[in-house]
Amino acid sequence: MSRRPLLSAQDLEFGFGPRRVLKRLSLDLRQGEALALFGPNGSGKTTLLRVLATLLRPSGGEVFLEGVPLSRKSDRPRVLRRIGFLSHQTMLYERLTGRENLLFYARMYGVAQPDLRCTELFEAVELNGREDDPVAEYSRGMQQRLALARALVHDPELLLLDEPFSGLDPRATRHLGTLLADLAGRGKTILFTSHDLETGLGAAHRIAILSGGSLAYDAPREGLSLEVLTRTYSALAGRVA
């Protein structure tokens, strides 16, 4: 894991009307680091990820990707090539097949060998054999895995994953945990949100808890037990996940 931060958010502010969702939130993510972000519903996890992905413009503060501010329009295409974003919604076209979806996004990102990349990804998310089925015929878990493949299609350095384990069965959850560890091992930087403390703890190098729009807890996973995390979470978030 590198020492230099790949992503740096400084004093982020964001609100929906009068309601402030992010309050002077600062966060650094080093290259190759996997950060699990926990927090109760409405704590601002999704909003933070959307701001970091450039989908929402912060009302205050700035996000830097290796020193380049995300707000700089001239650098936007270069920045976007380095970010992979998985949202609550799959961002997939249900009338198209899994392969057609991945090929479409691969072409939009200018991937050099889109067919080869799609084959690799179908294997990585264990969907081979279902490539040519319409996405509408996929189960929720399969759609979630294909959505992850979509986020990975351009081999981004930074992965922003909003509840990637949602909708997955235990086997697929374990597989995704292994996949994330493998990606982090290959130098990818990962920030993911979760409500499942145990799964999140198993897949991350660092744990953070978001409460009331700011980071209430931020510590390395090393030496942190599930019991301690559950207690800390309950104290900070007011309820057990």
Binding site: R50, A53, T54, L55, L56, R57, R76, P77, R78, L80, R81, I83, F85, S87, Q89, T90, M91, L92, Y93, E94, R95, L96, E100, F104, Y105, R107, M108, Y109, G110, P134, R150
Partner: protein, 227 residues
Amino acid sequence: MVPRSAALTICAKDLRQELRTRESFTSAFFFALLVQVVFSFAFDFQSLGLGFEEVGAGVVWITLTFSSILSLQNSFLIEREKNCLAALALCPCDPSAVFLGKLLANFLFVLAVQAPILPISALFFGYDLSGVLPGLCLVVTVNAAGFSALGTLFSAVSVRTRRSELLLPLLLLPAATPVVIWGVKATRLCLAGRALGAYGTLVALSACFGAVFIVAGILLFDYVLEE
């Protein structure tokens, strides 16, 4: 990614989806067909001494305008379904490429709906189109381009609203009035067998109208894609 390549990728994706389901085409085509049937049975134009030359332009453009709205509406609704619009906004291409890709797909949809409607309309009214077909194709194509440019922009603007299906016609119809009026006038002159010189100015005006909204879409689409 170069805008042209991204635009063609988006257009191909939209056409593939439409070919698979034929949702937009089927609803727009059957609506257009229904309007033709209603007009031909409801009004006895021949007893009033009116031929297709007099009423055809109005009938054709009422059909084309409303059936086009049906296909334009679906253009961005398919992007809203699973928040694919956000995924498009995150693609490293110029936002104008998204607009141009959508515009091209919409233009082809509108033409695909219009192509069978013209002969069907003439058939209902017993009119031979063969003599006026090149001029009529020119008028319809140019006006369809202008209508599609405006419709694509407004479809994108309205898609994030709760009542986008209602908002699109409310925005589009008043703004498209000039291009529809020019289309009706040019079509009437064309059906009357007049030479291109007689309606060339109207076609040029429609082309300028389309060009203005294509440029507006290219310049503004960055803001339209923003959440």
